[in-house]
Assembly symmetry: C2
Homo-oligomer: 225 residues x 2
């Protein structure tokens, strides 16, 4: 049984995925590249370091990768003010913490965006640690963020809460169970096919069902001697 | 076998669903109502007359329905200039027409938006008729648009090409087969569960597979005496 709960932030606790998809669409358009937005949407949740080649190929990554990421940051910045937290995000964190879990918040995004997201859900009062892309070499779907989160809170075994297939795939590589929510816009089948143990429609629905998930009660983590 | 191909426009031929989702999010925010964008996204493709109560309940529809639809139009207008056609939309229409089908284009949206979408894909040179929400009493998922489209082109049997579960459900009510594309952001399972016969990732993929779909070749429609 896990002692640590790792929460993905973007798309899971804060309603950002559609803004990210549109920001990527606009970023690519600056380079006269038009991509179907649904395809960008389904790539959100990977790190930006991996997204460009995933959606547009290795040549575009080589030629414009860094500039496209800068353009995406610029476009997302312009939308950031209207981003809202998902309902009951803070209550979910507090409830999971009260069950004895160490709490880590993981974001593939940039620190500046993460700061605003975390303040929207008043995360600082409940989270033990946060990990961002700065803490790892490879972002999701690589599992490095999960390793980094466990290390930061001194946990031994994790459960991940996320919204994207990239969360599920990263966790599956480490045999970490994933509780998924549909708030990022992925479907039930997409999430279960990627390895999610259970899928909930909303954070309140997950809160009501916590007893039936690996978030039911934390195991006692080994104390340092 | 069908003699008429009915194409949904928004989300199927033109990449509008994510803009519509964001426009609805912003429209509701004007009334201090915050809805998860993924939920709005999955409701896009129903008519606006049905969407408000579907996502926010009957009370909000009664109190703000018309004002919310006006706000959505306003917000979508502000995004319209960046909307792009989906790749090979015109080629798909021309190919299906060359196989002998009568071609009807169906949009639940407003005439002004439809005009721009149809010009983006140069639809006027290939389509026999268009039907909009002005032509019917009830929009999708009611099947009235399909009836109206068949009547306008004088066809007897239809196949529908669409991107949303609302397209699939409308067609299923009339035993009209649906060829679905993922361009609107629904998943394969969501579309097949709603009744889609086959699901394609893109319009070029559908073009390549036309021989294996009900769009293979049109039946001769009965001639008027």
């Amino acid at each position: 049984m896990p002692d640590t709960a790792i929460f993905d932030v973007d798309g899971t606790l804060v309603d950002t995925n559609y803004h990210h998809a549109l920001a990527w669409f606009r970023a690519f358009r600056r380079f006269d590249i038009t991509l179907p937005i649904w395809h960008l949407h389904r790539a959100v949740g990977m790190g930006g370091d991996q997204l460009v080649s995933h959606v547009a190929g290795d040549r575009i990554e080589r030629e414009h990768g860094s500039a496209l990421r800068a353009a995406h940051t610029d476009e997302f910045d312009a939308l950031l003010a209207e981003v809202r937290p998902l309902g009951d995000a803070h209550r979910l964190l507090a409830d999971v913490r009260s069950r004895g879990f160490r709490l880590a918040l993981a974001t593939s995004g940039l620190s500046a965006h993460a700061e605003r997201s975390l303040s929207l859900i008043e995360a600082h009062s409940v989270a033990d640690a946060r990990v961002t892309s700065d803490d790892v070499e490879r972002t999701k779907p690589a599992p490095d963020l999960i390793h980094a989160a466990l290390a930061k809170v001194g946990g031994t075994s994790a459960v991940l809460v996320g919204d994207s297939v990239w969360d599920c795939r990263a966790a599956a590589k480490l045999d970490v169970p994933t509780v998924a929510v549909r708030t990022g816009g992925f479907s039930v089948a997409e999430l279960t096919d990627a390895g999610a143990d259970t899928v909930f429609e909303s954070l309140p629905e997950l809160i009501n069902a916590l007893d039936d998930t690996p978030l039911s009660e934390a195991t006692e983590a080994p104390q340092p001697r």
